[in-house]
């Protein structure tokens, strides 16, 4: 967690961007934005900008990683070098590899991998502009990209973060809150069952604050899920109406 901030993160009951403790930043999702990928989604979440794309089911490389009974789900989460205040280095680092893994495991839970044995399903998440809680934004976008690609899934998982700022539990950490708050907890939840498929936390929270944080996250599941569904429906209408460009 970050150093205690010099400035308060809550002023007059409101957060730095004016939100209430249980308010999400505005989210937009557009499905099917890339031409070549089998499925894709572009998502903005506050000032975060995320592009997610899916290729697959396709042949597995290297071949020895093929599973004869089901598809292997892979994920690569990456932050663009221009996505943060300071220039970042290109390519994966330890943090992005860990995030790639936990997101992959969330999708390995919902993808019906038995439908396409001996194939790979590849999920690519690029954070184009980073402003706090990018892994849950990336996961939310990638779920739409997977559905857009026609990959069979049991659910559309949503991502949301909870944190603690100036002693209060709040939903959806933006950058300053992420950096200077007292706890940060990204989660992914399956809307139809309420089960948790991604959970990380670091910081300081009492047991009751933790339970409160879980409840606040659950309260946001439907709101985010509806945006995913709306994006998939909007793509459908758009693709049906407009002629494809050659």
């Amino acid at each position: 967690m970050g150093t205690p901030s010099e400035q308060p993160l809550i002023v007059g009951g409101k957060r730095l961007d004016g939100r209430a403790m249980d308010e999400l930043r505005p989210i937009t999702i557009t499905a099917g934005v890339l031409n070549r990928a089998n499925g894709s989604a572009y998502l903005t979440w506050g000032r975060n900008k995320v592009m997610a794309a899916v290729y697959g089911p396709k042949e597995v490389f290297p071949k020895h990683e093929t599973d004869p009974y089901k598809a292997v789900v892979r994920c690569r989460y990456l932050m663009a070098p221009f996505s943060t205040d300071d220039h970042g280095r290109s390519g994966p680092n330890r943090r992005s590899r860990e995030i790639s893994m936990v997101i992959k495991e969330a999708f390995a839970n919902v993808v019906v991998a038995e439908v396409y044995p001996k194939t790979a399903i590849e999920v690519y998440i690029e954070i184009l502009e980073s402003h706090g809680s990018t892994r849950v934004a990336g996961l939310t976008a990638a779920a739409v990209a997977l559905a857009n690609a026609g990959i069979p899934m049991r659910d559309l998982p949503i991502g949301v973060s909870i944190g603690k700022i100036d002693g209060q539990v709040a939903v959806d950490m933006q950058k300053e809150e992420d950096n200077f708050g007292q706890a940060d907890m990204p989660l992914a939840i399956k809307p139809t069952t309420g089960e948790i498929v991604l959970l990380q936390m670091d910081g300081k929270m009492t047991r009751s604050e933790f339970e409160q944080a879980l409840d606040m996250a659950y309260a946001k599941v439907d709101e985010i899920h509806e945006l995913q569904v709306a994006a998939l429906k909007e793509y459908f209408d758009r693709a049906a109406v407009m002629p494809q460009e050659e």
């Binding site: 948790i196 670091d202 910081g203 659950y218």
Partner: protein, 258 residues
């Protein structure tokens, strides 16, 4: 070959777990035998050699003079690394770090850092110079639950930390003074097999598990959580394992603080 036997054991492990038992006779909430030997590596400024059952991890702490981070100019630095040595398991090949070792180092780091176990502010020497504390985790034998073993080794090694003296621009390693920890966090790892939640998994239990989750706690505080694996947890399961982690703390501390 050990691994082949573990693979063959899968069905047995599952049967046992389904009927509420474990192949080594433990309860679902029981740790294997834990041993901690502090100061195992004399040349290191802190060290601990930990076994949990047949898993074994050595953590060594070295200190250097470093420049502080620009946003924390008055604080020492703390860095964790983990190596899964090829000797620890047939499937560990030499080469670049496995994602599991990266994850393990990062999870141990997050818990200890969130707990503010080390008083980094007291590591300030002079402007532009602070103590850098390097904790390196060496996994040398793998029979499951490397995370708890590594966390315990790191915490015990830091607890035994003795900072060298620094005079006239030189580190004098022969002169050491102990550095107390402000907090001793404890880590508990559970796996989910079917619908059963099992503490301190054996390797053969890990390979049949659907998911794994680790809680790092203090007396009344939660410091870190890491869920892994493709399985899912309900809210109730998560809270129940958190409560069990608090309850197990006393036993774990009795080992670390010995």
């Amino acid at each position: 070959m050990v691994m082949a036997i573990d693979e063959l054991k899968k069905a047995t492990v599952l049967d046992f777990i389904k009927s509420g038992k474990r192949i080594d006779g433990r309860g679902f909430d029981e740790y294997r035998k834990i041993t901690i030997k502090k100061g195992a590596i004399g040349v290191a400024e802190g060290s601990a050699d930990v076994t949990i059952g047949k898993s074994r991890v050595i953590a060594g702490v070295k200190t250097e003079i470093v420049t502080p981070f620009s946003d924390r100019p008055n604080e020492g630095t703390l860095t964790f690394g983990a190596d899964f040595l090829p000797m620890a398991h047939e499937t560990f090949e030499p080469g670049p770090p496995r994602i599991e070792s990266i994850e393990l180092a990062r999870v141990v780091d997050r818990g200890i850092r969130a707990a503010e176990a080390i008083d980094l502010k007291s590591m300030f020497i002079e402007e532009g110079k602070v103590w850098g504390v390097y904790v390196d985790i060496y996994v040398i034998d793998h029979d499951g639950n490397l995370l708890d073993a590594a966390a315990m080794a790191s915490t015990a090694a830091l607890q035994s930390l003795e900072l060298p003296a620094y005079r006239d621009g030189k580190i004098i390693r022969e002169e050491r003074s102990p550095k107390a920890l402000l907090e001793v966090p404890t880590y508990c790892t559970f796996v989910k097999i079917g619908d059963k939640l099992v503490l301190d998994p054996l390797y053969s239990e890990e390979i049949v598990a659907d998911a794994r989750i680790t809680f790092c706690v203090g007396d009344d505080m939660l410091y870190a959580i890491q869920k892994a694996g493709h399985g899912a947890f309900t809210k109730e399961e998560t809270l129940s394992m958190l409560d069990r982690s608090f309850a197990l703390r006393k036993e774990l501390l009795s080992h670390i603080e010995r």
